[in-house]
């Protein structure tokens, strides 16, 4: 994946090379041909930049809806996104106005260079958004867990055997704590990352950090899915207690 920007650049620029080869023999034909090549390159560059701006704007909306991460992190992420959008928008306008091959070539290379920043900002923001969502869910599960605990105590006072659902409740608590820890670890990992600016060592470190954070989030998701199953199991138990209590009450009345 890391080589793709360079491959892209080569493919784009290789399309321009034949025009130079023909330039000395048939100038008018080649001129027309080069203009067409430039137009095609501009269209594809525009397509590429637009796609990134769309993704960044979508990320910006998501960042603004984050509620659990710190204001500092949210503002830093939003600042990075807006800087990228501004950079790409400027580049898009410049490419659209390019009329010669050399300038276009340089601007297309700028897309490739900016791609490395884009490939940090985008996953960094989306990992933060997912960690924020996990924090929201763990808070909700905590609240539901407290309610379920109260209901189980009531059921126990009514004579029900709550050992099985209590075990589920204990597991729910453990899953919540682990999910919180994983989400926090993901945030701690990606928050300090900065663009590599061409430094391969930093690029490798960033890539490793992003993958680690992604793995942390995957573990947190597994925790939350298991926690949701624990909640379902406890609710099922409470429903059965309620049903048997109703049945007993009906039998007693008869």
């Amino acid at each position: 994946m890391k080589q793709l920007p360079f491959i892209t650049a080569l493919l784009l620029l290789s399309g321009l090379l034949p025009s130079f080869a023909f330039a000395q023999t048939t100038p008018s034909t080649v001129s027309t041909h080069t203009s067409a090549q430039i137009a095609r390159a501009q269209a594809r560059a525009n397509q590429e930049i637009t796609r990134r701006i769309t993704a960044l704007n979508s990320l910006s909306s998501r960042i603004q809806s984050m509620t659990r991460v710190s204001d500092t992190l949210r503002q830093a992420l939003e600042g990075n996104v807006q800087n990228q959008v501004q950079l790409l928008t400027t580049l898009q306008s410049k490419i659209a106005a390019d009329t010669d091959v050399a300038t276009l070539k340089a601007d297309v290379q700028s897309i490739v260079q900016s791609y490395r920043i884009y490939m940090l900002v985008l996953p960094q923001g989306r990992i933060s958004a997912e960690a924020d969502r996990i924090a929201t869910i763990t808070a909700m599960m905590q609240g539901i867990g407290n309610k379920l605990q109260a209901r189980l105590q009531t059921a126990s006072q009514g004579g029900a055997d709550i050992s099985a659902p209590t075990s589920l409740l204990t597991d729910l608590g453990a899953k919540i704590v682990d999910a919180q820890n994983q989400a926090q670890a993901a945030i701690n990992t990606i928050a300090p990352l900065a663009p590599d600016n061409g430094n391969k060592t930093i690029l490798a470190q960033n890539t490793t950090a992003l993958q680690e954070a992604r793995a942390d989030l995957k573990t947190a998701r597994t925790d939350l899915v298991a926690g949701r199953q624990d909640i379902a199991g406890i609710l099922k138990f409470l429903a059965s207690v309620h049903t048997s209590a109703s049945a007993s009450s009906t039998t007693a009345q008869q």
Partner: protein, 105 residues
């Protein structure tokens, strides 16, 4: 000492006594101090917050409401967030798998 001077001294003594009485709180029942009004204004939102603790968990129902109906609403809200998590997760995967559009001719 003239009668006017006596009246003036008496007036000063009365004003001083009034100021002392004000600060000792004698009139507090009749005229609450501004600081007390501010304090009551400040405490009202805190009381309101303490009666609506569901805001801290993000659940749609009150934290003290353990009824089946409340739990049903809470789990529905939880499931909506779980769906959002699936979407967020897909976005993360997409960010890692993002590739440039092939710009060939």
């Amino acid at each position: 000492m003239s009668a006017g001077t006596k009246w003036f001294i008496a007036l000063v003594v009365l004003i001083a006594a009034g100021v002392v009485a004000w600060h000792t709180g004698i009139f507090s029942n009749l005229f609450p101090r501004p600081s007390q009004q501010t304090l009551s204004t400040n405490t009202a939102p805190q009381q309101a917050t303490s009666t609506q603790p569901q805001n801290t968990t993000g659940l749609p129902t009150n934290s003290q409401d353990t009824s089946n109906a409340a739990l049903q609403q809470d789990t529905a809200a939880l499931d909506a967030q779980m769906q959002g998590l699936t979407s967020d997760s897909a976005s993360v995967d997409q960010a890692f798998n993002d590739q440039s559009i092939q710009q060939s001719y």
